[in-house]
Symmetry: C2
Subunit: 428 residues, 2 copies
């Protein structure tokens, strides 16, 4: 690791050298960023929001280029919709930047202090992680959302977005960089990968010591590739196979409403319920599954579940490990809490699991024994979101166990250092 800055090499196919050069510039910029105050960083982000609005015309024109190329190359409507920017969406992006500017700065927080018998004064102080690589698909908004979270916590970002959005990303990045530069943020604090070559992504993933953390933002394919190839620590979640367990003591109406919401509010998000577990002693299983079916959801189930409604077909073994991300649900009638806990332990992806119950013994056991990033009582799993958790924004939801778990916001983009103040102590 070094602060030494080097000038970028001439166009090259040595992607390791390219990444190394980007990372060195990022490191130098990050060191300066780390010394900026809360107020200075917030002002820079507000200036960026201003620039995004001021350069609306350029950004939308660049996006139209991407949209035209996308239609040309036959992108699906869904992908085109992700790619599209308009005045409302751009305003949404700019307001989100202002919202992040308004979040408390985690850097400098003293996590613990101690004075040793020999007089040494120890403190653990929150510092930025450093240089963060963001690898994402063709959602131009991520270019801004991810970069501003990194900068708010004093990190430098290296962004590599999807090729379909390359013009949009360049225009958005130009506005962001210009706005932040006006308030003294070094240009290299946020860099856009200068090439779309996949080898450059590979080099990014291998740049341990130069890039401190990689955050993949996208579908399972992208995240899997990043997790498999990365030598740099990765903050990511792969699956959201979220369970809801309805205990015998559950309030029937609450169970119905929470279950329908957990599955159907939005079926495509990682916090959507994929498996419903119903205690065989719960008296109102029929009403719950029929409400879900009536809401337009396909339901597969185990034998006991199929007995609840004729519209339920038989689940395959693979269903219990499937993240549908669509209006489809697997339902199992189970023999109580222990069965439910065992099913969840075997099939949960460790993202979010929920119990509906009015029995404190059941809810406390569920909270303690389900080993997932988020465990909920009597609420919809669709609340699994940094904004809903009051974190202001999220860089992602982590299902790994180390560093940060669940919704990751500014705090997850920091680490700590030990500061030790002595008066000449030597160790005996």
């Amino acid at each position: 690791m070094t602060q030494q800055t080097t000038t970028k090499p001439a166009p090259t196919t040595d992607y390791t050298a390219l990444i190394s050069s980007l990372a060195k510039d990022a490191r130098a910029a990050q060191m300066r960023l780390a010394r900026m105050s809360d107020i200075e960083k917030a002002a820079a982000l507000r200036s960026a929001a201003h620039a995004l609005r001021a350069q609306k015309a350029d950004i939308l024109a660049a996006n139209e280029k991407d949209m035209a190329a996308g239609r040309e190359s036959g992108l699906t409507d869904a992908l085109l919709d992700r790619l599209k920017l308009d005045e409302d969406r751009l305003e949404g992006i700019a307001s989100a930047v202002e919202a992040v500017a308004g979040l408390p700065d985690p850097v400098g927080e003293v996590l613990s202090t101690d004075k040793r018998p020999n007089g040494l004064e120890l403190s653990r102080v929150r510092v930025p992680v450093g240089v963060i690589g963001i690898i994402y698909e063709s959602r131009p908004n991520v270019t801004i959302d991810a970069a501003v979270l990194c900068v708010r916590a004093g990190n430098a970002a290296i962004l590599r977005g999807g090729s379909e959005a390359v013009h949009s990303n360049r225009a958005l990045h130009a506005a962001l960089a210009e706005g932040m530069a006006e308030k003294g943020v070094p240009e290299a604090a946020v860099q856009l990968m200068p090439t779309q070559e996949r080898e450059a992504v590979g080099a990014m993933l291998k740049a341990s010591g130069e890039i401190d953390m990689i955050v993949p933002r996208g579908g399972k394919g992208l995240v899997e590739r990043v997790q498999n190839d990365a030598r740099v620590p990765v903050l990511a979640h792969l699956d959201g196979i979220c369970h809801t367990y309805i205990d015998a003591s559950a309030d029937p109406e609450m169970a119905r409403e929470v279950a329908v919401n957990a599955k159907m509010r939005r079926t495509g998000i990682c916090g959507a319920m994929e498996t419903l577990l119903i205690d065989s002693d719960f008296a109102n299983g029929e009403e719950v599954v029929s409400a879900i079916l009536d809401a337009g959801c396909e339901v597969v189930g185990n034998e006991a579940a199929q007995a609840l409604d004729s519209r339920i077909s038989a689940a395959q073994a693979s269903d219990w490990d499937t993240e549908y991300l669509e209006p489809k649900l697997s339902v199992a009638v189970v023999g109580g809490l222990d069965d439910a806990l065992e099913h969840i332990a075997r099939h949960s992806s460790g993202h979010t699991d929920v119990v509906i119950s009015s029995d404190d013994k059941v809810t406390e056991r569920f909270l303690n024994e389900v080993d997932s990033a988020i465990v909920m009582v009597n609420a919809s799993s669709q609340f699994a979101d940094g904004g809903e958790f009051g974190l202001g924004a999220e860089i992602g939801i982590a299902t790994g166990r180390l560093h940060a778990r669940g919704p990751v916001a500014l705090e997850g983009l920091t680490t700590y250092k030990w500061q030790v103040r002595g008066t000449g102590q030597t160790r005996p």
Copy 2:
């Protein structure tokens, strides 16, 4: 990840299956361990200390087997000394277990709480990391030291020690397991790898999702191999290239005493000073280097440093990046704080760096701008140690930036989960 326990397969060369089986048993045991109270875990460790003392004869006999084989195979005296157990060392191991039993249990600590406008109550609660793999060399004490730290924080451990210590490790593990089992700790909470085959280590390193964290304990070769091959997160430090910068304002006597201690107290530990940076305006550089030379240390330096003492020979470029771990020191006379910060940024391994100064402006800049796990003012870098930091014990010192940094003790063997308590909330 699954709680399902399976019985171990018959002796096999399918190391992936072997590790998978060990890890599944470990996971099931860890789930039970996680539900044991602070008092129960502490009692189990005290019982283990008792068993270690009670089985002294067996343990020392097993160790003598290893020692004999080691002499046979021509191990160096240094390696034989690491391998050797005697009554005193065994008593030291047992007392260390009791000390860990006396440490506060980090599990269950509530890290933060929040109540959302919609009534959802959030809390972040500290939980064990889960299943931890420890890979170490032929120091039998690590078998116990590492295992008890894992167990104290509610983790299961899979231990793979060096082949030269195999009999000692089995005897130590047997006593540990028997002592803990008497207090209800499942046998699989601490497992010794049943084979010494290197392929089994490779399978351990690849077992992501089954093993949550790997801690290598040993020399640079071991740590490098683990870091290169692991798909499981690794908590490790590679180098301890620790710097001490003597500022112009430093008290001469303090500078001399701290520098000599930082280098010479023990030259073989990762917190030992390897490079001394002296401000060209510091008036007493000669006295400091001559004291280090007189203490029996070889010194190499840059030109200006060589002018301080005729016994100083010229440093090679590689010296600035070398962890000597012996009575050898590289010295550079630098042009002040900024030069020192740049040198450290370029050459530090991010372990521990020290400034000797009586100028608060200098010390605060050093504390803030040196990007290492531990930054110290006016103290010997040899204090970089979990015990000296009041952590009671350490599993290692981490120079990575994520999860845990610097001395890692019980807290570094935990993570957190989000617990959300609702009253039927659905997301609009």
